[in-house]
Amino acid sequence: MNKKSDFNYDVFFKDKVPLFLSEYYVFPLTIYSAWLSYWFSEFLKLEPSVDDSKSYFYIVEMLVSYTFWVGLFVLLISVFGVRFSLLRKKQAEDFRVENDNLKQNIQSYRSSESSLKQQLDDNQQELFNLRGQHQELLYDSTSNFLRHLAEECCSLNDKQRISLYLFSSEQFILVGRYSKHPEFKNKNRMKFPSREGCIAKAWYDGEVSVTLPSNHKEYVEYCELELNIKRSDIKNHRMKSRDFFGKAIEDKGGDRVGVIIFESQKPNTLKISAIKDEINTRHSYLSSLILQSKDVNLLVVYKKEITNEQA
């Protein structure tokens, strides 16, 4: 099997030969100069007394001799060498100019990049602040809607409260709350574990209605065993509610997006059937409030799963 030749004629004649000639043209040029001097000296050796026709023939003889053609060939090579050398110099100059232009462009791009990075940083910072403001406004408007629900529809009293939570990344985030009691309506915690309390029960069961025991010990035990709330957390609860009603809120596609919780410090005071009717009537609006909150809530938008490396 014949081995395929790697020889590339284009590269050889268009690249290698001109390069070689432009590098080494000085050698044939030297040889040619030597030959020319030799030829000229031989020419000068002709004596004036010699017959003109003889000297003429001598010149012709010299001209047709192989040395003349060798000299001519060397001269041609030298001429090509000079030509390629000039071309290379021109190319080198063009490359230098182009390189300088590119360097200037790079410098200019670097400076623009730095300025753009700064602008991006400023804009993202502004977006972050706007998201924060939007989150606050949305929290207030959601709480106002819950207030409307509490006062106009469910007649909630000072010992009762409504809270709306969105579910995201295995946790519930408070997106609106209302109570007539100034302390109970405050945001104490802003997020809650996905498997604790009535919120989790409503989320997993779809609906929950619970009345907790009045006896403190039984109350704590119930919270611990039935609602999976840690004993240490129970004492931190600002509002020790005994009556709960919660319902999972779904989006248009039927996926659960959050939970609404009604709670009361006094047992059997929540008007469950009226509350259920109101939730059913306002379900799509409650769902849209949760989804809007999800889009702007900083804890959702800037959430990242924690890793050892990034801690």
């Binding site: 730095s114 700064q118 940083d121 972050f128 924060g132 924690i306």
Partner: protein, 163 residues
């Protein structure tokens, strides 16, 4: 001079000339450096109290120190959206070398990281730190106890993985 002021000045000293810092970002950088330092050495780098608010970690104490600093200038302006912008810069070039090599290394690491990513990514990193991602309520952050808690949890996870 306060430790936080020295750390803030060090950050500004090492900031590339074509980049600027807002007060908010400076506070976040200091929080990040403080958390990393506490995690590594069990003590605070800045000696200020940190709080978690809606817009992330902050420290009224740190803000007051920077605003009253003799070496750091806070320039107030409006950004193109019409909101207030507080840029921090150095007032003078007085040289202060009161930081240890490890403190400098952590500050440089935090600054370098923040310059290599944009605000959004940096905020995700800040919100991903254990004190913030694990906080259930807004309020004070005790970085030292949180660092211990974090290490303990990591060790427990490592034990479970190794079983």
């Amino acid at each position: 001079m306060n430790k936080l002021e020295i750390a803030a000045k060090y950050l500004l000293d090492n900031l590339p000339p074509d980049r600027k810092l807002t007060l908010k970002k400076m506070i976040q950088l200091l929080y990040f450096a403080d958390w990393k330092y506490t995690l590594e050495f069990g003590k605070s780098l800045t000696d200020v109290d940190w709080e978690f608010e809606q817009l992330g970690p902050t420290s009224e104490q740190a803000i007051a120190i920077i605003k009253e600093s003799d070496v750091i200038d806070v320039n107030y302006s409006l950004n193109k959206f019409g909101s207030n912008r507080e840029k921090v810069s150095l007032k003078n070039n007085s040289s202060i070398q009161e930081l240890t090599e490890t403190e400098k290394a952590i500050l440089e690491e935090v600054l370098k990281k923040s310059l290599s990513i944009d605000w959004q990514e940096f905020t995700v990193d800040i919100f991903g730190t254990y004190p913030i991602s694990n906080a259930t309520k807004y309020g004070k952050l005790n970085l030292q106890s949180l660092a211990q808690e974090y290490k303990r949890k990591c060790n427990e996870i490592m034990k479970i993985i190794s079983l």
